[in-house]
């Protein structure tokens, strides 16, 4: 296992979105990193098609999935870190730093897109099977670089599995004024965000996509609520919710809702459970929109959060256990690990098709993918530490 970062690690030369683990000693909420790390692992597993590994991920046990966790925690940490910088370095500098981060994400998106195009071109060129003439014909059209590349640069063409990244770019690029508003009128900003989400639920507008009448898979006008709510919590809102979270009634309701959604979801996907939930319920609630962040998904995330916060207090000793270090480290380098995860899911798909798709291979790909993600985060932690030491020596000398 790679060496975990020590308590005095990681102040990268550029302002990263993650706070230095030095803060860990002074009350940094390790649960954020832990669950963001877990969400990143789940997103990777879900993105490897035909993989038995994705049966353990939370999307199979309720209405919401890893995306909600990822977007919420990203909003939370972004508001916390940049909120602090706003106080120390002012609006202009902080905004510039946020935009710089958004730019890094954009570059990462284009990089992954090129790899995606390469894989499509390879599959189309090497795979001659009349059974799949239709699929190949359509892929050929997606691989036309003159259209696909231009549309990708405009963030309009977002291949499956890469949808979260454009959402994250847009959320971060529009974050400076939102952060400013959250600092001044936290509740007002949250209400505005909620109203925008509500408008989407009824009016259904979205950003245009490519090709044709396709729209964004993750509607930014709806998903901003998750991000802004995360930010609101990160700037002290979560403390104000303590009374609510600790209330027994809320806990009971949350557990009931989680159990109900577990029953509904398993009855949909797992034949032995079929018929357990009356079809009438399904008829009313289906489809649970992921694109527009359906209220059922949002409520499911809230219920999950309530239960987790109750089960795992912030000072829980096991958060510092070595077994959890890999998860926490991944959560602390979310951008790099996320992008690497998308790359690894392409690679795993390639291996599963080219070499073997056996059960053993699926498990091997899942485990080694996660090991590589952990390896990268360890490398980044080590590098950040080395840079910090160098800077410190420079200052001293």
């Amino acid at each position: 296992m790679p060496t975990p970062p020590t308590a005095t690690a990681d102040t990268s030369p550029e302002p990263a979105e993650r706070p230095a683990p030095t803060a860990a000693a002074s009350g940094r909420d390790l649960r954020l990193d832990l669950f963001r790390g877990l969400a990143l692992w789940f997103i990777f597993l879900n993105h490897v098609p035909n993989n038995v590994g994705n049966w353990i991920t939370n999307r199979n046990f309720g209405f919401s999935d890893a995306t909600e966790i990822f977007v919420f925690i990203s909003g939370y940490t972004a508001a916390m870190v940049y909120g602090r910088q706003l106080d120390s370095s002012g609006v202009l500098v902080t905004s510039a730093r946020i935009l710089r981060r958004a730019w890094q994400l954009y570059v990462a998106f284009i990089f992954l897109f090129v790899i995606y195009l390469a894989e499509i071109s390879y599959v189309v060129g090497s795979f001659e099977n009349p059974l799949y003439a239709e699929e190949m014909g359509a892929l050929q059209f997606l691989a036309e670089p003159d259209v696909a590349l231009v549309q990708a640069l405009l963030l309009k063409f977002r291949p499956a599995n890469m949808d979260v990244l454009p959402l994250y770019i847009v959320l971060l690029a529009t974050f400076p004024p939102i952060l400013w508003a959250l600092k001044r009128w936290a509740d007002g900003a949250l209400v505005a965000s909620f109203l925008l989400w509500l408008a989407v639920q009824f009016l259904g507008f979205n950003l245009p996509g490519y090709p044709d009448d396709r729209t964004w898979f993750f509607n930014p006008f709806a998903w901003q609520l998750m991000f802004v709510f995360g930010g609101w919590c990160g700037l002290g809102g979560s403390d104000r919710l303590t009374g609510l979270v600790q209330s027994r009634v809320v806990l009971v309701l949350s557990v009931l809702y989680l159990a109900l959604s577990l029953a509904v979801v398993t009855s949909w996907y797992w034949p032995p459970m079929e018929g357990l939930v009356p079809p009438a319920i399904g008829d009313i609630i289906y489809p649970i929109s992921k694109t527009d962040l359906s209220v059922l998904r949002f409520a499911h995330f809230l219920a999950l959060a309530v239960v987790i916060v109750r089960l795992i207090p912030v000072q829980a000793a096991f958060l510092r256990w070595d077994v959890l270090k890999p998860l926490i480290m991944c959560g602390q380098h979310s951008l790099e690990v996320f992008c690497f995860g998308v790359f690894l899911s392409f690679a795993a798909h390639f291996v599963l098709n080219e070499v073997s798709g056996s059960l053993f291979m699926q498990l091997t790909m899942s485990v080694s993918g996660i090991a590589l993600m952990v390896g990268l985060s360890a490398l980044l932690s080590w590098y950040a530490r080395a840079e910090r030491d160098r800077m410190a020596r420079k200052k001293a000398g």
Binding site: V123, E134, E135, A160, D212, G357
Partner: protein, 232 residues
């Protein structure tokens, strides 16, 4: 070879209009609407110096088997292939298609192009719902057929959401659902067929399509019999 779990091959809902037409021993038309591109393949023929193998896709197997089973009236299967057509496009074309073919049963395969485009699943379900309504109004039954399982391309588009949407549309509309995706997935898992090999056996296409044709006939017969049982 064509085995599949009965949960996947049962009709679940009856096909009363088709049953009536077969009972009366009148000419019965089955319309297959799909998005296959394999009917004519000039590009491939050109690249291999004109050497084309006539590929039989599943509709022709349906006609053959059903004619043997119901010899009196005469069953005709007409196929309408519209590659690169979303469910919305087909929905708009359906009234004209129905007026022209006057079918007793429509086998509607859809979802592949919607998945590739990433069309919104709610739009997709709505189009399928409306389409089922059109077909029933025109006096025909429907069997919905999901896209095929395509492991090579699974990274580029996700069929799952569209298969789920079809399953729901079928359940809400009270029509049988032929989950081709799940059946092919079963064949792959059981080692009956290998769908992701770079060099597929020359007979793969024919084998798969004859199996799908056979299982679809099984579902059709099941749906017709359900109606007979119910009416007694």
């Amino acid at each position: 070879m064509c085995a599949a779990p009965s949960a996947l091959t049962r009709a679940g809902f009856s096909l009363p209009r088709l049953a009536r037409s077969l009972e009366k021993n009148e000419a019965t038309t089955i319309l297959v609407v799909n998005s296959a591109t394999t009917a004519k393949r000039p590009a491939l023929a050109g690249s291999e110096g004109g050497k084309t193998v006539a590929l039989r896709s599943f509709p022709s197997y349906i006609e053959e088997t059903l004619r043997a089973r119901y010899p009196e009236g005469g069953v005709v299967v007409t196929t309408r292939s519209q590659p690169r057509a979303t469910a919305e496009t087909i929905r708009d074309d359906l009234p004209a298609l129905l007026a022209e073919a006057r079918p007793a049963l429509v086998i509607w395969q859809t979802g592949t192009f919607d998945a590739i485009l990433g069309a919104e699943t709610s739009t997709f379900s709505d189009a399928v719902d409306t389409g089922i309504g059109y077909i029933n109004e025109a006096g025909a039954d429907v069997i919905l057929v999901s896209p095929q399982y395509s492991p090579r391309t699974a990274f580029a588009f996700d069929i799952g959401a569209y298969t789920n949407a079809l399953r729901w549309a079928a359940r809400l509309g009270g029509v049988p659902f032929f989950d081709r995706y799940a059946i092919m997935r079963f064949w792959e898992d059981e080692g009956i067929f290998d769908f992701d090999t770079a060099r597929p056996s020359p007979s793969l296409f024919d084998d798969v399509h004859s199996c799908i044709g056979r299982l679809l006939v099984g579902m059709i017969v099941d749906g017709v019999d359900l109606r007979t049982l119910g009416s007694r």
